[in-house]
Amino acid sequence: MKSKTAKVALLGSLLCGAASVEAKTVEIQFAARVGDAPLKCGTSYAGVGLSRASIFLQDYRVYVSAFRLLAKDGREVPVTLIPDQLWQSEQVALLDFEDATGNCNGNGPTNDRVRGTVPDGEYRGIVFELAVPFAVNHQDPTLAGPPLNFSALTWPWSIGYKFTTIDFDTAPPAASAPAASPPAASPPAAGADGMDSATGFSVHLGSTECASRGPRGPPQAPCANPNRPVYRFEAFDPDKDLLVMDLGPPRRKSSSAAGFSTTRGCR
């Protein structure tokens, strides 16, 4: 949980032109849970969400970007991601909570942290987006570098990436009639189709309505529905704290990835 802190010299900061600024690396740690239980492949979780369904993990990979730490005075200080040719580039990082065991798709390795550098100092909060930045979201995915090189995370119909590839097999609650749930009891953001037993339940979030004007070329302007949720935690110490994505019942102040409001883009 504790991330180690190191100090390195940040060479020639372009932004402020300072010759050298003391910088430190930060590791921002994430966890995926269902209530109190860690989310794992091969495990069934009962009574999830408002419909109290059982879920069985298939995939859980999410892109995160635009990290900023909040300084004591409230300033947002950008975190410079450290490219590692695997989990993160300068623009975006991939969190991966599936290990291809059980019913999971994907691959063995997992990643629960984001590594970057910030100017030395004390920080009390964090801001980030659960998204692939626009500048790299609409490239050719067959030629893209890591971490945008996973075909399972592409969203070819909308020419972009699924910011959240969260897929479950689902089963209705054992005790109640399966088809009787009123619309209000459906899982968030998926409508009545969310409980289709054949396809399970997916939270695929990505930018939509990105139509380009001419017959050629990628979108020139930001998409009408960027669907890039910004998460802001005023009290977060990157050296001590953990960002928990909880798929249990939606709660206020929850960081549950299943809680986005717009239905378009969440499939």
């Binding site: 798709n105 994907g106 691959n107 050719d140 995915p141 067959t142 030629l143 996973f150 075909s151 399972a152 592409t154 070819p156 119909w157 909308s158 020419i159 897929d167 054949a198 396809t199 997916s202 695929h204 939509t208 309505e209 990105c210 139509a211 380009s212 001419g214 017959p215 050629r216 070329g217 979108p219 009408a224 529905n225 378009r264 499939r267």
Partner: protein, 459 residues
């Protein structure tokens, strides 16, 4: 993913690369929302599938069936390595990939090279030199029947207006090629659904709106090519019309009425809607020409259904005729026959006040250039130009009289070349609006093979 599906599962060559299903089925049995489209001449389409303005290249589009998860089609997302291994295991492929991708180390079989190979193959699916092409572009006036030529005149005429959405060489209206680099891309709402009285389409198929979010894009889909259309049933984006006759009936009715069920709707209460679509098609730049919306003549509220034209050819007659040919020419011929069947079927028409009558009538097949061509308008107009376009696309200005306002104009001794001639006219209506159109006159070479106007053919 489970070795049950290939690209050809939904794109069968004998069906013009479609699958005869209303909507297609994925590897796990999930249904796609839409009807499999013909791949004929797909290289020229600037935005692929029925209504996705983002899919500009076949390389992008290939990823949808290959990797898409909504629904799963081929289901290869995240299985790049498996895909590569399976192809590598086929002896045929490694040397071919090495030859096709010399810049890729070892001609590696990867997702990137596979989608490029698939796209390159699709670009070779060219439909050309059908009997209609030979007639239209090579001057072989015997390549199609006289009934088909009359049908062509209706199809490309201003009375039925089929050509506004199906008018280019691929018989659609979205096209891009080296002589049209900007491309043309059009989407149309043809009045198939109206679930809420405000034009709503079913949620899984809202059309262009899905990508633009604009209310006015509800139900707008790209017009498909009509090449080989006879074998691509069922029709429309969701395969909801079983036969070509049904498609014609739909356009004749000016919107579809669904009497019962969850999609119950009566688009008929908006009888002008398809006509408005045609208006929209006309005001979009078509082959570089923009037209003012108010130059479109009034459309009557109640479509007038004409009597069955005597040139109508029954399905049985047509089949008997086309099956005399070999398999390739038969198929190509059927393409044209089917297209023309579409326009020869009884159809409601919208009266145009512009051109009332011509002599000879459009679609006439003559043994020699006529002594004159008469253009008669429904009201006084001023003819501004008449141009004859011959089979080789050469254009020649024709003199006409009178010079001022009149209802009838005569082109004396037009000297039409053997083959297909399109007589394009432009005029100013009484209130000063530009109107234009064309008629088709075909001159057959005489029995001895010497055409009366042979020397004018190449100008």
């Amino acid at each position: 993913m489970n070795r049950t599906r290939s690209c050809a599962s939904c794109h069968r060559q004998e069906l013009a690369f479609t699958d005869a299903l209303a909507v297609s089925k994925g590897a796990l049995g999930h249904l796609t929302p839409r009807n499999s489209m013909s791949l004929a001449n797909v290289a020229y389409i600037p935005a692929l599938t029925w209504s996705n303005p983002l899919l500009h290249s076949l390389e992008q589009q290939v990823l949808v069936p290959l990797l898409g998860s909504e629904p799963i089609e081929l289901g290869m997302a995240g299985r790049d390595q498996e895909l590569a291994e399976r192809l590598r295991a086929e002896k045929l492929y490694p040397p071919l990939f090495a030859r096709a991708f010399p810049a890729v180390p070892g001609g590696a079989i990867t997702l990137a090279t596979v989608v490029r190979a698939l796209a390159a193959f699709e670009r070779t699916l060219i439909s050309g030199r059908s009997p209609y092409d030979r007639y239209r572009y090579e001057g072989d006036v015997d390549a199609i029947s006289e009934a088909a030529i009359r049908g062509e005149a209706l199809f490309f005429g201003e009375r039925l207006e089929c050509h506004h959405c199906h008018g280019n060489f691929n018989l659609n209206d979205s096209m891009m090629h080296e002589r049209n680099r900007l491309g043309e891309l059009a989407f149309h709402n043809t009045g198939l659904y109206d679930l809420d009285g405000k034009g709503a389409y079913p949620a899984d198929n809202p059309g262009l709106l899905e990508h633009t979010g604009r209310a006015e894009d509800m139900g707008r889909f790209r017009a498909p090519t009509l090449r080989n259309v006879e074998v691509t049933a069922p029709y429309m984006h969701d395969g909801s019309i079983a036969t070509l006759d049904g498609v014609i009936d739909h356009y004749a009715a000016g919107g579809r009425t669904i009497a019962s069920g969850p999609l119950r709707a009566a688009c008929r209460h908006r009888p002008r809607q398809p006509a408005q679509e045609l208006v929209r098609a006309r005001i979009q730049p078509h082959r570089g020409r923009a037209r003012r919306p108010d130059s479109v003549p009034e459309v009557p509220h109640r479509p007038r259904v004409p009597e069955r034209p005597e040139i109508f050819e029954s399905l049985a007659e047509r089949t008997a005729r086309t099956e005399r040919r070999g398999p390739m020419s038969s198929r190509s011929r059927r393409t044209v026959a089917a297209m023309l069947l579409a326009v020869l079927t009884p159809l409601a028409t919208f009266a145009h006040s512009s051109l009332k009558r011509t002599e000879p009538t459009s679609g006439s097949v003559l043994s020699a250039s006529p002594p004159s061509v008469v253009l008669e308008f429904g009201e006084e107009a001023r003819l501004t130009s008449v141009v004859a376009v011959a089979a080789d696309q050469s254009e020649r200005k024709l003199a006409f009289a009178p010079a001022g306002s009149a209802t009838s104009f005569t082109v004396a001794e037009p000297g039409l070349a053997p083959g297909r001639n399109e007589i394009r006219w432009k005029a100013l209506s009484k209130d000063g609006h530009p109107v234009s159109g064309s008629i088709i006159l075909v001159i057959k070479k005489d029995a001895t093979g010497t055409a009366p106007a042979e020397d004018t053919r190449r100008r």
